[in-house]
Symmetry: C2
Subunit: 574 residues, 2 copies
Amino acid sequence: MKEAQRWLDAFAAALSLRELAAIPKLFHEECYWRDLVAFTWNLRTCEGPVEIQAMLAATLGVAEPAKFQLRNAVSLDGVIEAWFTFETAVGRGIGHLRLKNRRAWTLLTTLQELKGFEEKSGRTRESGWEAFASPAAEPYVAIVGGGQCGIALAARLKRLGVPAVVLEKNARAGDSWRKRYASLVLHDPVWYDHLPYLPFPEHWPVFSPKDRMGDWLEMYARVMQLDYRGSTECKSARYDEAAESWEIAVEREGQPQTLRAKHLVLATGMSGFPNMPALAGAETFGGRLVHSSAHDGGEGWRGRHCVIVGANNSAHDIAADLVAHGAAAVTMIQRSPTVVVKSEALMELAWGKLYSEAAVERGITTAIADLTVAATPFRLLPQFQRPIYQEILKRDAAFYQDLAKTGFRFDMGEDGSGIHSIYLRRGGGYYIDTGASQMVIDGRIKLRSSAAVKGLGNRSILLEDRTEIPADLVVCATGYGSMNQWAAKLISPEVADKVGKCWGLGSATRYDPSPWVGELRNMWKPTHQPGLWFHGGNLMQARHYSLYLALQLKARYESLPTPVYFIDPVHHLQ
Amino acid sequence: MKEAQRWLDAFAAALSLRELAAIPKLFHEECYWRDLVAFTWNLRTCEGPVEIQAMLAATLGVAEPAKFQLRNAVSLDGVIEAWFTFETAVGRGIGHLRLKNRRAWTLLTTLQELKGFEEKSGRTRESGWEAFASPAAEPYVAIVGGGQCGIALAARLKRLGVPAVVLEKNARAGDSWRKRYASLVLHDPVWYDHLPYLPFPEHWPVFSPKDRMGDWLEMYARVMQLDYRGSTECKSARYDEAAESWEIAVEREGQPQTLRAKHLVLATGMSGFPNMPALAGAETFGGRLVHSSAHDGGEGWRGRHCVIVGANNSAHDIAADLVAHGAAAVTMIQRSPTVVVKSEALMELAWGKLYSEAAVERGITTAIADLTVAATPFRLLPQFQRPIYQEILKRDAAFYQDLAKTGFRFDMGEDGSGIHSIYLRRGGGYYIDTGASQMVIDGRIKLRSSAAVKGLGNRSILLEDRTEIPADLVVCATGYGSMNQWAAKLISPEVADKVGKCWGLGSATRYDPSPWVGELRNMWKPTHQPGLWFHGGNLMQARHYSLYLALQLKARYESLPTPVYFIDPVHHLQ
C-alpha cells in the first residue's frame, strides 16, 4: 500500500508540474499506459516512456488530471496491483496500476463520468412526475443496428440525456438472436453477459438460450425507454460536410424516410457480411446451400445428408444440432486449425477468477471485472493467457488425445494464447466445446480435416482430394468480413477506404496482419471519418465499451473540448 | 443478545418436549404469535397464551419445529428485537421476536422454503441447455387476473416448478395500468414496489408512471417465462368435487375454451366491482358520467365543467389532471373525511425507515423490510402507527391549517392510525398528496365538503342542499366492492357466500365491522371453498404474500402434508 501510495504521489506531482522528464523514472523501459478516453479522448495504449511522454505533452494542458487517490493495493509475486481514482478537468476516472520495483509496468486510466452530467441513480433518481415533460428532440446520434451493442449504447445515451435513435431492420429487438438456428445457446456465461444498469436475475441460466436472450433484449429496450425503431432499415447515409451531420435514408415499414443526426454509429454486428465461398457447381447443386447465418436449425433434416464447411463455433453447434435431429450423416469439413476448449475448463480456468458465482461472492462486481480485463494491455495479453491454456491442455489431456486421434486439427492459437486472443485478433477461429467435440470423437459427426472444397455436385460436395460426399444440405460456417464493409455499403466505398479495416490488433497472426496498433482498430473511438463510429462485439464488449463511446458522444453533445490524441493510420487487409 | 438466546433456547426446548405448560412462562399475558404458513399452513395470528397453546397442541405433531438459531438481536426502549431462523419437518423459516422483561410480547414465524424444493439460483442455477426439455404439463394452478399480483404469484410458481397459467382479459400484461387515466403515477415509492427476483434498476423513478409500470409488468411476465395468456377472459369456473379440480370456461381471442386446474386463484384486483352510485337523472344526463376506473384523463376537457364525486386518491389525481388540462371548473364533492398525508411526509416519517434509499444503504434489503412489516401483529399496528401521524400533523401543521380553512374534512383515521391502517381495513379512504391538496387550498379545485349528491340535471349535478353545479363530466371516484363479488360472478353466489367477504381485519371501524380476525380475511390463505384462493393488494403485498401463497400451492403440488389450522368463520358485510 505504501509503495503504491508513494508512486501515485510522485506520478501526480509530475503530472501536476508537467514534469515529463520524470516519466522515465516512474515507468520501466517496458511499460504500457492504456487510456480509455480520460486523457486522449481516444482508446489508446502508449508503449514505452517515449510514447507516454509524447501523449502527456499533447494532452496534459486540456486534461488537467488531479486528485489521484489510492483505493487499494495488493502485492503478488513481486508485482503490486493498485486501484485508484482521479479527476480531469471535465470528468472523474478510475485507474489501475501494476508496479514492479517501484516503477510502473502497466497503467490504465479510464473516464467514468463527466462532471455536471452524472447519471441520476439511487438518491438522485427522478421522482417519476418528469414523465410528463416534453418529448425528446431530434436525435443527436443515430445507431444502425439494434442488437446488444446498439441497445447497450442507446441505454447509456438515454441515461446521459443524449437523444439517440436505434434503427433495426428486424421487426422486434432480439430478432437477430431469435432468427438464428434453434439450438443456439450463448457460449459465454451469464456473469460475462450482463447489460448495463439491469443485470440478469440470479436464477438466469449460465448460458442464455438465444430466444431468452432475444426476449431480454426486447424488454430491455422497452424498460430503458429507448427510441428503438424496428422494421427500419438503414439504406444509405451521407455526411453533409457543411452541416457536419448525417443525412440518413431509411425504409420504415416499407416507407422511405430521411433523418438527420450529428453522429452515426454502425452497430451492425462486429462482423461484416457473411463470407460465402464461391463454390463451383453452386448453381446446379440440387440440395440446399446456405451460409451459417441463414441456417434455421436441424429440424427437417432427419435422414438427410448434411455437410458443414468450417470447424469453429457455429459449425460445431450446427453439426451437433443436425445429429440430434437425426440427420443420416453429418460431415464437418475442417480447412484450418481450430482452438478448442471445453466450456467447463474455460469457466474454471479462464472466466472463473472474474466472471463466476465465486467471483460475485468475493465481491468482484461486473464493473470491477471489466476494468480488471481492461487493465491488461493487449501486448501483454498472450503472456498472461498462455499459462491458462497450458493448464487446460493438462486438465483435459485425455480429451485432447481422443480428439487428436480423429484427425481434428486443433491448437491454442498460433502462439498458444487461446480464445480471448484469437477473438480479438480475428473475431473467430475457436470452438468452446459444449459437447460437439465428443460427437466428433464418437464419429457421430464425421470429420474431413485438412480438406479443401473443390465444388459441388448435383447432390454432393467434392473435395480437392477427389472424394465426393453426399449432401442434401451444405452449410458454410465460414465466418464474416470486416465491419467496414457496412460503411462501404451504407455510406460509400470512399468512406470505407478512408476508415479502413475494423477490429484486430495487428498481431501478425493469421487474418490479423501487422502493423501493431495496440487497440482494436476503429472500435469505439474516433475514425478518419468525422461523426462515424463503430460499436460491436460480444455482450461484455457491448456493456463495457459502450460506456466510453457514450461518454465521447455526450461530451460532444455538451460541446466540451474533446481533442483527440492520435488516430491510427488507416489499415487495409490485403 | 444473551437474553434473546436464553429465551429462544427455552422456547425451542418447550416446543421440542411439547411442554405447552411452559407457554405462559415464555409469553406475556398480552402477546401475539403471527404465523405465516410455517406452523399452521395458514396466515394466522394467535393472541394470548391460551390461543397459542391451542395452536401448538394442534400443529406441533406435524410441524416438528427445530434448529432455532438466533441471528441478531438489538435492544431499544426496554424491548429486545431479535431475528432467528428455524426449520420444520418440511421447510426452513425466518422468525422475529419482541421480548419485554424476558417474556415474549410478539412472535413471527414464516416459512421461506420447502426442503428439497429450493429455488435454483446463483450457484445452483440451470445451465441453459434445459431450454430444450419437454414443455410444461397441464396447469396445476389457474390464476385469474394478470396484474401485479397474478404475475408475482406466477413467477414464484414458475421458479418452484408448479405449472401455472395466468388468464388476463386484456391483450397485454400491463394493460390494466396502461388503460387508467393518463396522469396516474404510483403513490408508493419504488423501494416498496419491487417484484420478486428482478428488482427495478437503480435509476427507476421514485414513483412509477403507469405506462412504465405497464411495460415493466409486460417484460417481467416475458423474461420470467410465465404462461401468460392475454385476451383470455375467464367466464366461469365450476369446482368438480369428484375430481377435486376446477373446470374453467374462458374466452380466448373470442373463442370459447375449457381448461382444468387443481387450484383457482382470483387475482382480479383487491377490489371487486366499481361502486357506482345510483344517481337520479342519470339516464337523462347530457354530459359524460363514468366511474373513475373508466375515466381516460384530462385531455379533451379544456374549457368544460367537471365534477368529481369522492375525495380520495383517484379523485384528487383526476381533479388535478383536469385542472392541468384547462377544464373551466373542477369541483370535488367530498362525502366523508379523508386521511390526507403529503407524499414527502410519508416518505420521510412512515416509509423511510424500511423503504428508502437510506434504508438500502443501511443494508435493509427488501426481504428484511417486508419481514419487519410482517413482524407487527395487526392488533398492535394502530399503536405503532399513531405517533408517526402525530409527527406528520406537527411537521405539516401549516398545510393542514390551510386545508382546514377550505372546509376539506380530513383526519388520520378514526383512531388516528393513518394510511397503512385504513388501507388494511377498507382498501381506501386516503389521499397521498402529490400536489392536488394545494390546488384545493388555492381554489383551483373547488370543493363541496359534507355534501350529498341528490342527482343529475341535464348538464349539472344536484346536491341535497339544493345547489346545482354545472357538469359536462361527472367522475364517480367512489371505490370498489369486495373481491368475493368476483367469486359470485365467476363461480356462483353460493360459493361467494360460503367464502364470505375478503380483506379487512374486523377493526370495528367504518367499512370494517367486527368481529376481529387479526389477519386480512380470505387473503392468501385457505378459504371455505377447497381449491379457491384470493390474491390481491399493492405491489408490496403482491411481492411478499405471493411467497406464502406459492409455498402453500407448491406443498400441495408435491403432496406434502398441509393440515390447515383454523379457518376463520365466514363473515359478511351487511
